[in-house]
């Protein structure tokens, strides 16, 4: 009986968290049109979340592409069709690996930074101070961070995919001697515009999800050192889980 009650209790806590997250998201949505007009803070956040993540995104993109080149080449030579390497890498990068890996890196690089920053602001009473001065911290602090992340993500995804393609090209064409012409032309004939759209839409949705989770967890962190640490951890874990679940849903919708 007690087990059942505990299960019910934890389910209710889960529902409560979902409800609070949804309310938080709605609050953000309501103030977004006005917030978009204040360009300066958004640019700063695009710099924080996007430009500062550039190096890690490009490095990881290069290596993911190179691994795809290796694995793809190994697999495709078994069927004697290594000229399809370009198609295989392009489709897997555009549809899955680009958005998903970028989102995971984004949660690790930018999401944690956002959550820790907001959590520290909460812990050091900066947010309370703003409220006292009648400055809405949602508009002033949370919204630009959220929007910066949403803007930066699709661009990061695009950069990741292109760098990854060049990584695959490096391994496939330069190391293994796949014909460069067939690498690119087979890719071009098989990849549709809808694949590019799918990747960018996924990047956009993951950007919304990861940024929302990061600012939510940071903003609602317990105002202690431990609370900030837990908020950062939860950001990464929740972002990763939500990204992968959303990925399945989006793929099922768009395939």
């Amino acid at each position: 009986m007690t087990i059942l009650r505990e299960l019910l209790q934890s389910f209710l806590t889960f529902l409560e968290r979902v409800g609070r997250l949804a309310r938080f998201a709605l609050q953000l949505l309501v103030i977004t049109p006005a917030g978009l007009l204040r360009v300066r803070p958004i640019i700063e956040q695009v710099y924080n979340t996007g430009a500062l993540s550039l190096v890690i995104i490009m490095t990881c993109g290069l290596f993911v592409g190179m691994v795809l080149g290796l694995q793809g080449y190994d697999l495709l030579t078994r069927f004697g069709s290594e000229e399809y390497l370009g198609t295989a890498t392009a489709l897997s990068l555009l549809r899955e690996l680009g958005p998903v890996v970028t989102a995971l890196l984004f949660a690790g690089r930018a999401g944690t930074a956002l959550a820790a920053e907001l959590g520290l602001m909460r812990a050091t009473d900066q947010i309370a101070a703003m409220e006292i001065m009648a400055v809405d911290p949602m508009r002033r602090v949370v919204l630009p961070r959220f929007l910066g992340g949403v803007i930066a993500m699709p661009l990061l995804v695009a950069i990741f995919i292109v760098v990854g393609l060049f990584g695959a090209q490096l391994v496939g064409v330069q190391f293994f001697g796949v014909d460069s012409g067939s690498f690119w032309s087979q890719m071009r004939s098989a990849v549709e515009l809808s694949d590019v759209r799918e990747g960018l839409i996924k990047g956009f949705v993951f950007g919304i999800a990861c940024s929302l989770i990061a600012v939510y967890e940071g903003y609602n962190a317990l105002p202690t050192a431990e609370g900030v640490g837990r908020a950062t951890t939860r950001t990464v874990v929740l972002s990763a889980v939500v990204t992968l679940i959303l990925d399945y849903i989006l793929t099922a919708l768009m395939l």
């Binding site: 700063e44 695009v46 996007g50 930066a152 661009l155 950069i159 393609l165 071009r188 098989a190 990849v191």
Partner: protein, 169 residues
């Protein structure tokens, strides 16, 4: 805190890189060629069977890509698949009795429309119908035809020995 100028410059660089990457994906990876000149014309061709032809597939003459498949629809009156071809305006002297066929690039490759020129003096004009068409070769049909043929030959071969000795006698 770094100066706003540094932030602006690196943000600008990042956004520029991002859009360059998107542009690269749209133009270099996909089979869409964005020609800024809208100088092109459309032809229509009705096929019994288009196999796996998709919008965006190339239209080629003698191996040169002269256009793209723009749209594919099914005509309920003709009971045929109507394929709209968008031909580059540079190639405006294609004889209007040319024929369109659906070919497959390689054994596993995508399908494309091949135009082979006819002998007419009149060129195609915008909206013209390609009269002479040849459908896609469906591999299953080929295989079944081959199987039925060989089965028929076998049954023939099975009956001929019985009659042949009688003819010899």
């Amino acid at each position: 805190m770094r100066s706003t100028r540094t932030i602006d410059i690196s943000t600008g660089l990042f956004v520029l890189l991002g859009f360059a990457a998107i542009l690269f994906m749209v133009t270099q990876i996909t089979n869409r060629e964005f020609s800024l000149m809208s100088d092109s014309y459309r032809l229509e061709a009705a096929f019994e069977n288009i196999g796996g032809l998709k919008p965006g597939a190339p239209v080629s003459m003698a191996g040169v890509t002269v256009g793209r498949v723009e749209d594919i629809s099914y005509d309920m009156k003709l009971l045929k698949a109507v394929v709209t071809l968008r031909i580059d305006g540079r190639y405006n002297e294609i004889p209007n009795d040319s024929d369109a066929s659906i070919f497959t690039a390689g054994l596993l490759g995508g399908q494309y429309v091949g135009l082979s020129p006819g002998g007419s003096e009149q060129p195609f004009r915008n909206g013209d119908q390609v009269e002479f068409v040849q459908d896609a070769v469906v591999l299953e049909n080929l295989i079944s035809k081959y199987l039925f043929n060989s089965a028929a030959q076998e049954s023939e071969a099975a009956t001929t020995p019985a009659t042949a000795p009688a003819a010899q006698e």
